[in-house]
Symmetry: C2
Subunit: 364 residues, 2 copies
């Protein structure tokens, strides 16, 4: 059913080098991803690349909350047409490049230039402008598959809103999210202190220890923090908010005069709250950040290359580690989606990544 091409056809195609069997998670309409997604296959003509085209093999493609929202139809980035392939992020290897392509050579690792490419598939042919180069001799495609969203979001929020120096304080909620994980580690590298807020859970002490091991200076539950901000002056220069609701308000009250709160997510599905006194009397501001938009701005290309160079350097020397993740085959897409949309706060979620797992032929 799923692989409608017979082995015979694959054999013939393979012998002629005309087509490549592509496995892909596609949706024909917006809706609940576990209902509207389907794993299907098709044959892709691969020996007639146009001059600017590149044929790639996807090595790993994460599942991000934005991917889920996009399939639901509740995300500002929508596929130009349906059916569409799910997924916005991933790492691919160049198989073949058209005659006019100068940026990429065979075996180079690449990532999407922008969100919206459709990365939950085994292979694809793209215009070279749709792909972004990864410099140098990097082999770890698991890290590269997620570099475009989580570490980049953490990096840019720490670099682009306030001038942070060693000793400065950053406060964040959702500190055990993937972005939170990178915020803690990048701050440790830069000598910036982090105050981290997480939801309460049975294994809270274990989580606190883990975050401190990663470099967190202080870790509080939402409840602890909702009392503490009244008595303790946190004097944070920057607050990073991915929760919203009253959690955002408590962060705003931990800001020093003139500080900035950056919202990059809304896990609580409640509007961001900001303390009126923080805005009026302490001249703080509240802004938003969206890495997909930042990546799409042409003028950021040079800065983006520099950022990847620095992030990869930190990863290579062991200062950045991967967040907890789980390898998934495309066949397991329902489990991957369910795990990603799991809202039980008591579960430490693993990032779900579609990638080679066992002997799955589509990644060979």
């Amino acid at each position: 059913m799923l692989f409608y091409k017979s082995r015979l056809v694959n054999f013939i195609n393979s012998a002629r080098f005309f087509t490549q069997t592509v496995h892909e998670l596609i949706y024909r309409e917006h809706g609940n991803p576990t209902e509207v997604l389907n794993l299907s296959s098709k044959e892709l003509e691969v020996d007639t690349l146009e001059k600017q085209q590149v044929l790639v093999k996807w090595l790993a493609s994460p599942v991000n909350p934005a991917d889920i929202n996009q399939i639901q139809g509740a995300y500002p980035i929508k596929p130009p047409n349906l059916p569409a392939v799910g997924g916005n992020e991933g790492c691919a290897q160049v198989i073949k490049a058209g005659s006019d392509v100068t940026e990429f050579r065979e075996n180079d690792l690449v990532i999407p230039a922008n969100a919206g490419l459709g990365t939950w598939c085994s292979h694809g042919i793209y215009d070279s402008k749709e792909l972004f180069p990864i410099e140098g001799d990097v082999k770890d495609y698991m890290f590269l598959s997620m570099i475009q969203v989580n570490p980049s979001t953490a990096y840019r929020m720490l670099k682009d809103f306030v001038n942070l120096s060693s000793g400065d304080i950053v406060v964040q909620n959702g500190a055990n999210s993937s972005v939170g994980h990178f915020v803690i580690q990048i701050c440790r590298i830069l000598g910036i202190q982090t105050i981290n807020v997480v939801r309460d859970r049975p294994e809270i002490e274990q989580l606190k220890s883990q975050l401190k091991k990663d470099g967190a200076d202080e870790v509080y539950t939402e409840d602890e923090f909702s009392t503490l901000y009244r008595t303790k002056e946190f004097k944070a220069k920057l607050a990073l908010n991915c929760v919203g609701g009253k959690s955002g308000r408590h962060l705003s009250l931990a800001l020093e005069s003139g500080g900035t709160m950056v919202t990059y997510g809304g896990m609580s599905v409640s509007p961001v709250q900001v303390a009126t006194s923080s805005l009026i009397f302490f001249n703080t501001k509240s802004v938003g950040f969206w890495i997909s938009k930042w990546n799409g701005i042409k003028q950021n290309r040079e800065e983006r290359i520099n950022m990847y160079r620095e992030l990869i350097g930190w990863y290579k020397n062991g200062n950045l580690t991967l967040p907890k993740y789980q390898r998934r085959s495309f066949e397991e897409y329902k489990e991957a989606i369910n795990q990603s949309t799991q809202t039980d706060p008591l579960t430490i979620k693993s990032k779900q990544i579609f990638t080679k797992k066992g002997n799955h032929h589509y990644f060979d």
Copy 2:
């Protein structure tokens, strides 16, 4: 009781020109203003002015919400010592100036340089630095008495946060507040469109007509607006929020991409809400504004003089009108406070101003 100096003493003082009887609304402790405020009198030595000192007679002093909060002890500006005189704003006439005072001459009209002066009194001696000059031949002390807070707040919010040009759109809630009144009128002068949100009330049509007469382009109740923002793209460049709560969220959703929401009050006593999507996907920002802080910044002096010149010009040529107000004597302070703290949304409040009313000797 209230005037403990006898007529005889006043007569003697008056004959000697040594002292001036001062009537003042003072509080000895923080608390509910109608309980902790008292009208009292004292004799002020007036013939021994120091070189930099100025003796003034207060002509009119409004009651602002901040004055109430300050007496309650819930305001960031606190009197240096208790007992203290209430009030932060007003217009006074110079009676006599010390030998080194060059900025002010007898009969000049002045206003406080900063908040915290204590303006609910009949006379006072101040260092010349504590007073701010009003240029030119201005006689209307009722307008001047309120120029420091409401029209200035409206003016600065329209000038300092986004670049507004003729045809641009500003959306505001609390549109029938005193600041809202000036926002509508200044926008009309500058050719800027205003979308105005007010709380529902029985005489809503009357209020809508009044605001439209003042120059409002569109007027909606909170309820009307809470539905409209879903279907209509308001494309406001600037949102002015003095309510907070979900009203703020609706304003944030009426902003165009890159727009700014300025919070200057929190009438609902709920934290400001901002739509997460507005911050993240539409790159809006949420900031605060506090005119008392702005007035206190030395570098703003020149700009402040220019602002008053422009506001007074508009007032003189009839483009700015006073908001609805009510004259009050100091004896009526409980009524004035009660009227100012009235939270019944169905009442159109009048701004309360302590000033000459009938034959009250303290303003003669």
